[in-house]
Symmetry: C2
Subunit: 232 residues, 2 copies
């Protein structure tokens, strides 16, 4: 009997294998706490606040994840998987332009749903190998989407894959600024950007998603001027 076989490996998370069940339990509590905290406060949230949210000692948190990067990578492993799969899904769309826009809207929507993920998408974590692998996978898929949409004559020829990165950074900015107060503002940005990517078809002008109300944006601007802690 090998040492590894002594423990029951029934956690969904393979990296929890070989842990005592109380340790595995804590690991899960930490991960789900971190998911909540990062979604709300972004990935710069303190390790201490994650430990508090999880109800474990600080030492326990550091024992499981010795660097913030490890925790971030573990928390967003699933989401990065979904992210990579989205590119494949978009490629399966018979309409190249529709696949292209669906992908952009989906990815930006994932950003809007999780502030932490929104930040992760615009950063790179050289030490988190499989996160970067997922990113590459998505990137390759997106490149193919771009080629097809150009071939279909719907995407402007001077579009580059860097434009997606720029859009993700821009979207992260809108989401960070409006979070809560104007939760649909990002759609307006993405709608504009997609229109600017399209080869114009004057016969068929696309409507934009609605703009947020002045009040909603004003609330967003007030939120930002408060200290991070007050922002809830």
């Amino acid at each position: 009997m090998t040492p590894a076989a002594r423990r029951v490996p029934d956690s969904p998370d393979p990296s929890a294998q070989g842990l005592r069940i109380d340790a595995r339990h804590n690991r899960d509590r930490i991960l789900s706490a971190a998911r909540r905290v990062y979604a709300r406060d972004g990935i710069e949230a303190s390790m201490a606040s994650v430990a508090r949210e999880a109800g474990v000692g600080i030492a326990t948190l550091f024992r499981h994840f010795s660097a913030r990067e490890d925790l971030v990578a573990a928390v967003f492993a699933d989401t990065m998987q979904t992210y990579a799969e989205a590119a494949a899904t978009a490629l399966a769309d018979p309409d190249p332009w529709h696949g292209f826009t669906w992908y952009i809207e989906t990815v930006c929507g994932m950003q809007a749903a999780d502030r932490g993920f929104s930040e992760v998408l615009t950063m790179t974590f050289p030490s988190a190998r499989d996160m970067e692998a997922k990113r590459d996978e998505a990137y390759r898929g997106f490149s193919e989407l771009v080629v097809r949409a150009k071939e279909a004559g719907r995407l402007r020829p001077d579009f580059t894959t860097e434009d997606l990165v720029i859009l993700l950074m821009a979207n992260a900015g809108v989401i960070a600024a409006t979070a809560g107060a104007a939760p649909e503002a990002w759609r307006r940005l993405v709608g504009c950007m997609i229109q600017s990517y399209a080869v114009p078809d004057p016969a068929n002008p696309e409507p934009l998603p609605p703009a947020p109300t002045p009040t909603a944006l004003y609330r967003a601007m007030i939120r930002l001027s408060r200290a991070p802690a007050e922002r809830r």
Copy 2:
């Protein structure tokens, strides 16, 4: 002789009146230090780091500016003035569409030149009266620009003034993410957005500013994954 007349009021900054010359000198050193620090690190930079940069004691900083908001307002008073004047300048342009795009490019360029200002533009500081007054002035000017550009038939009718706020937030995101590593990326965003605002003229397709190189954006993403202190 009134008490106020005892001091020589020759500082360019009216709020420095009535201060002893050493105090006024320190106030100026603090302001110019804060300008540098905020431009580099954003307005969340610590009060302590501003005091260090200025070479004054922490107490001196707090004696002059008892809250971060006061310091921010004092630092950006000039810039907000320029911001408000930009709207007037744009209104003086005989070509409404050109005035409209010039204004947007100018304001976004001001964001790119100063990370602190970039953040200030997407926040509101209810207690800093004259900063908000300048913002209102610029807002009124921009509203007029919008009306004229629509009347000229060049700006899409569903454009709203909130779209500018969204663009400023998006641009702040790109600038925060690319600072230094891809300093021209924001132009690409702004170019795209302006094209999406325009009523399309298929006979005259505008070229976009160049996209950043993949390497430049990669460097930007690496920068972000480091701790704020390491970012220089």
